[in-house]
Amino acid sequence: MNRRRLSRPFRRAAAAVVVLGAAAVFSAVPSTQSRDEYLGGDTTVFDEGPTAFGRALANLDPLRWNEFRADKERFLRQWPERGPWADAVSCAECHYHDGRGPRADQVGGPVNLVRLGGPSPGGDPVYGNQLRRTGYGVLAPAHIRVEWEEVRDRYPDGDNYKLRQPTIHVSELAYGPLDPHTRQSLRVPPAVFGLGLLEAVSEQEIRRFADPDDADGDGVSGAVQEIRDAATGRSVLGRFGWKASQPSLAAQSAAALMADLGVIPPGTSSATDRVRTKIQEREPEIDQGEVTALVRYLRALAVPARRRWAEPAVREGEALFESIGCAACHRRQMITGELPDWPELERQAIQPYTDLLLHDLGPQLADAVSEGLASGHEWRTPPLWGLGLLSTVSGQSGLLHDGRARSPEEAILWHGGEAERAREWFRHLPRKARAALLEFLDTL
């Protein structure tokens, strides 16, 4: 990293950005932007408490209410049948209060999981694409311990900051060693609200933002994840998961049911390894209706509104977010398209702060696990809506794919690759401007 070389020009530029940002606050921004707080368009709900991610769409058809309640029961319940290898007993165990992974003391289960990437698309030949911690009626696959190493650095203005990075320690592998080519990646379960809106965004709308060869020369590319649809054989756009490896909520839910609970949704593939095959033989198949109900529940979960969005410092932070380049990937606005049977989600002007594209975030965040077209360096831009409420809902706010960032500030400081320039702009901002940008993020 060449921070010293960049330091002086960045300092001058940062001052200019602050002036420009402040000017934007007082002149360019219209005085009445009454829709700013409606991150989810007409579906937006107003709740700043622990239930903020679990509310029904604000425009939900009343006839869906009873299904919504029943689907929530399904989301919360301990799954009656689960596979011999599992990481959780219920959906809600990982998606605590419909948010990100829970605080360690709030549930008995893991707050993160270990994704395996290996020589085959299915991950490790024996352990598959996820190293599960629990065995039911069989030996637990492995013992997993995460150790956090703290690192210190400082801003150019002398302010100190601390970051931390995880090291995964795997022991007691019950079914033999991992394949030498298998790679491990720590993952935090993402929040599950607002997913219906993201699913309703058309492929055309997402492709509009793609710039895989950086034709505009801004240093930010953005590539579409292309997935082969197992059912049709056609290539489809991926949009869910840390590397956008799932094209739909149905596919994402099926993958999570398999990987986390060890159950087999209909039409999913089977393993070839001897051990893995024996395990899969004992994995209970679930009815397609269960997957459908979970998808229905996820689609009906609303996005909470912004708070304090009109405060001057927040406005200043918002202008900085745009001007230093964060918004090149964390795009503010999208328009949803059509989603059959879900008129509530259609044609909504939403503000997810994502482009749903893959970006190279540099070697420090790379995990050496590729998924589809996404390399180990590439990650899908996560939406930022609900960011300021993560801690209220989940009791923790471990950000980035592995939860290493304990705050949005730490998350920014981990950005590299295509986002390195934006990160350096941020580092070189005056303290007050940095605080304003973080204040803005806290209102999302």
Partner: protein, 246 residues
């Protein structure tokens, strides 16, 4: 990263130890098991079992109305109990019962004495904007009056003689339920029929008042139940009798 980085060891176990310490610092008089359910004192309260009366006495309460008792059972949808609260010229009845899910209050019933009258109100949190409830009066199980769309400030009034009286004590059945449609309901049942004034001024005769949260599905939170019931009063003590939590 830059050479000024220093490596420090950190462990999530440290956080767990600190949190355990904090919990101990707040520990009060010991919990007791009553009716097979774990009860924990709240605030300055202490708990005493009275096997002869089949009662749990909640004593040592301050005058803030914040002290009382909590009973816990995961996945509960219904709580009923008879509450015995002292009432005297210098001690007006003030009682609240609240259901919590994951530490958050999902609904409450409140009874407050004003002279010879009790006023009952409810607080519900399922709605995304202004919550409303319907107030319903029953007489021996038969609906005799109701009014809907009531704001949180609405009150139902009835004479304190709805209580079963023993010397300087009001005995009344208090209940909390989560209903099949996700609504919460608070309820009191008295010993005999009295004139009850609904928030719109209508007066009917009954022995039971229900305040039922109104569910407007758009933006509503689908509470499926609760895990904790907290009963509080600003009386010096009160007793819980014939309690059920399921």
């Amino acid at each position: 990263m830059s050479k000024s980085f220093q490596v420090l060891a950190a462990s999530s176990r440290v956080v767990a130890v600190l949190m355990a310490g904090a919990a101990l610092a707040h520990a009060q008089s010991p919990p007791v098991v009553f009716q097979g359910l774990p009860h924990t004192p709240v605030g300055y309260a202490a708990l005493q079992l009275d096997p002869a009366r089949g009662a749990l006495d909640v004593v040592g309460l301050g005058s803030t109305g914040k002290d009382g008792v909590a009973v816990r059972k995961d996945g509960s949808t219904s709580w009923t109990a008879r509450v015995e609260v002292p009432v005297a010229a210098t001690q007006l009845l003030n009682l609240s019962w609240s259901a919590l899910a994951d530490g958050r209050r999902i609904g409450s019933g409140l009874l407050r004495q004003n002279g010879d009258t009790l006023e009952m109100s409810g607080v519900f949190t399922g709605a995304t904007t202004t919550p409303t409830f319907s107030a319903q009066v029953y007489n021996n199980g038969r609906l005799v009056g109701a009014v809907g769309s009531q704001p949180p400030t609405a009150r139902v009034f009835f004479p304190i003689t709805i209580c079963t009286w023993v010397p300087e004590q009001c005995r009344i059945a208090a209940e909390f339920h989560t209903l099949d449609d996700g609504a919460c309901m608070v309820k009191i049942v008295g010993s005999g029929a009295v004139p009850i004034r609904l928030p719109n001024g209508t007066i009917v005769t009954g022995n039971e008042v229900r305040l039922v949260e109104e569910v407007r599905p758009a933006g509503h939170y689908p509470y499926l139940g609760f895990d904790t019931m907290v009963t509080r009063s600003d009386a010096p003590s009160f007793a819980i009798v014939a309690e059920s939590l399921r």
